[in-house]
């Protein structure tokens, strides 16, 4: 059989390509084109404003900070949990997978409410911790609060993604290692992690993008009080006072470029490591 599909076969891809054009290319092109329009004239003004404004600069820094921290925490704990679940029976694994599934999808208002009940100014946990003298005061409506909230779904998502990746490492490898005197920690550092390195980089990139794009949870928990990028975009699009959709378009493009960096870097890293 030929590797080149006949013209008729290529036509079968048309609906998919059409959908891709309608749902990805067209909106992206509109956003890109509009981002160069300021006050009705073509200019780089929107980009100049993003680059010079300390306010928008800070929103990028905050988003990057929250994303980097929660991605690191998510990957670390996700990996440890996935490794320990390897040694558990099917029942425990299924329960853990179900919980992770709920966690990964419970973002937005429900997550924010749950955190407010627990860690809000009069939250159960806040009161208990205050009463026990462990903390003086705690404000969940802050950058720290956002990091805690993001971790909730970042760790859960990492567990969901890492478990099947680790299934690719045969238990025989671990047994072979234990018989030649290599302990569990050393096995995972020298064999386990390197073997799944590519997938781990991909998962890290995905978690990072997931955090950068988080909006509902942020809005529900801290409203507009913490300066992150997605809140700024939404404010410019739907705000009554500061509405400037084209500036929002430019920020969205900038966000897209920022997300492109880890993707390109990870691809380059993996290219050098072709096994």
């Amino acid at each position: 059989m030929s590797h080149h599909a006949s013209p008729a076969m290529k036509l079968l891809a048309a609906p998919f390509l059409l959908m891709l054009a309608a749902l990805v290319v067209w909106p992206l092109a509109t956003v890109l084109i509009d981002s160069f329009s300021k006050g009705g004239v073509w200019s780089l003004g929107n980009y100049a404003e993003i680059l010079t404004s300390a306010y928008y600069g800070q929103s990028f820094v905050n988003s990057l900070l929250i994303s980097a921290v929660t991605t690191a925490i998510g990957v670390l704990f996700g990996f440890l949990i996935a490794v320990s679940l390897r040694y558990r029976s099917g029942g425990t694994r299924r329960i853990a997978m179900a919980l992770a599934n709920i966690g990964a999808n419970l973002a937005g208002v429900p997550l924010a409410m749950a955190l407010i009940f627990l860690l809000g100014l009069n939250g159960t946990l806040t009161i208990v911790l205050k009463a026990s003298g462990l903390i003086g005061s705690f404000n969940v409506y802050s950058l720290t609060g956002l990091i805690i909230a993001y971790c909730y779904f970042q760790i859960a998502l990492a567990v969901l993604l890492i478990i099947p990746v680790l299934d690719g490492i045969e238990t025989e490898l671990e047994e072979a290692a234990s018989l030649i005197g290599v302990g569990t920690t050393r096995f995972w550092l020298r064999v386990g992690l390197p073997v799944v390195g590519r997938q781990m980089v991909a998962i890290t990139t995905l978690l990072f993008a997931n955090a950068m794009g988080t909006y509902a949870t942020t809005l529900a928990l801290t409203g507009t009080s913490v300066n992150v990028i997605t809140i700024r975009i939404s404010e410019l699009v739907s705000g009554d006072v500061f509405s400037d959709p084209n500036l929002a378009n430019a920020i969205a493009i900038a966000l897209f470029l920022v997300l492109l960096v880890p993707i390109v870097v990870s691809q380059l890293l993996l290219k050098g490591d072709k096994r």
Binding site: E170, E172, L173, E175, A176, A177, S178, L179, I180, G181, V182, R186, R190, V191, P194, V195, R275
Partner: protein
């Protein structure tokens, strides 16, 4: 002197009895084969010796030391797995060095040991290759080298040849035997392949339903199976019930007869001997290289006969009548239950 001694090893998962009180002694330097159908418990027994499975009861002594409670790494046992289990991110040399580094040896000593072992398995020129660049046979030789380089007191081989294709399997089988002889390493090999068992094992233990049915040398197992299970599992002997055998030789007989196809001789018995003579008809003829396999029928009993072929000799065609002679002392007989 017994080098490895298993006594009363038992293991059950729920109601499933996996190992049912296994006793086994293996001599130093012996290549011992555990042979049996899948699910008979042979791999579980091997894994119990390695410490990868913890039996419910029983004791394991290796070189006079009780090891059943030890961690796998402290048992001094090397193991080769069916699917190689090489570390895919490491070169051959790194695979071999991994265990040695754990022992905090000097780099120079590690390199010397690795070179020596690579020479034994004839892979000196593959030291820097990665597992995915090797053929199945080469991978398994690396796995063997990885076990050998740590100089274990016992080598366990879990179906080491069954993932390989026929040609390589035969070559590696001979090489395995040579290496085992050369190193004098006490080894236990698990297989479901009777040819492999017969050609590799100094002694063979045939297993069925979590028990060892018979432990003996290859020829002993082949010619004198302890029971019907062993007789059916090993070789392709004719197994004739007492009634069938009585009909065949035309004389009353009260034991099950196990008669290998090559034990039947085509032609009349010499004058005055006490051999049985049977008039038989050829039903089917298969000429397979140096042997000719016949299905014959005599007195309503069907059985297999095997004869050497010769270059200038015609084999018997189907439908031909012939006389067979049987020497009863070349058959093996089991009491009927």
């Amino acid at each position: 002197m017994t080098y490895l001694d298993l006594s009363a090893i038992g293991l059950r998962y729920g109601d499933n009895v996996i190992l049912d009180g296994i006793d086994l002694s293996v001599e130093q330097g012996e290549m011992h084969v555990l042979l049996g159908p899948s699910g008979c418990g042979k791999t579980t027994l091997l894994r119990s010796i390695a410490g990868l499975v913890q039996p419910d009861r029983g004791a394991i002594h290796l070189a006079g030391r009780a090891i059943e409670m030890l961690h796998p790494k402290d048992r001094g046992i090397g193991m080769v797995f069916q699917h190689y289990a090489l570390f895919p991110n490491m070169t051959v040399r790194q695979n071999l060095a991994f265990g040695l580094e754990q022992r905090r040896l000097v780099r120079k000593v590690i390199d010397e040991k690795i070179d020596a072992v690579l020479e034994i398995v004839s892979l000196q020129n593959k030291a820097d290759a990665r597992p995915r660049q090797l053929s199945g046979g080469q991978k398994q030789r690396v796995a063997l080298a990885r076990a050998l380089v740590l100089e274990p007191s016992l080598l366990l081989l879990d179906e080491p040849l069954s993932a390989l294709d026929a040609q390589i399997r035969k070559r590696l089988r001979d090489e395995l035997k040579r290496i085992q002889r050369r190193t004098g390493l006490t080894s236990i090999l698990v297989t479901h392949d009777q040819d492999e068992a017969l050609s590799l094992g100094d002694r063979i233990s045939v297993m069925n339903n979590g028990r060892i049915t018979q432990t003996a040398s290859g020829p002993e197992i082949f010619y004198r199976p302890a029971d019907l299970f062993v007789a059916k599992f090993i070789g392709n002997a004719n197994i004739l019930t007492a009634a069938e055998f009585s009909r065949l030789i035309g004389r009353d007989f009260d034991q099950t007869a196990i008669i290998h196809p090559h034990v039947f001789k085509i032609g009349k018995a010499s004058e005055g001997s006490n051999l049985f003579e049977v008039a038989a008809t050829v039903v089917e003829t298969v000429a397979a290289g140096n042997v000719v396999r016949y299905v014959m029928q005599a007195n309503g009993i069907m059985f297999n006969v095997e004869a050497q072929s010769a270059m200038n000799e015609e084999c018997l065609a189907a439908g031909t009548g012939t006389t067979l002679s049987i020497n009863p002392s070349n058959g093996h007989f089991l009491k009927e239950n």
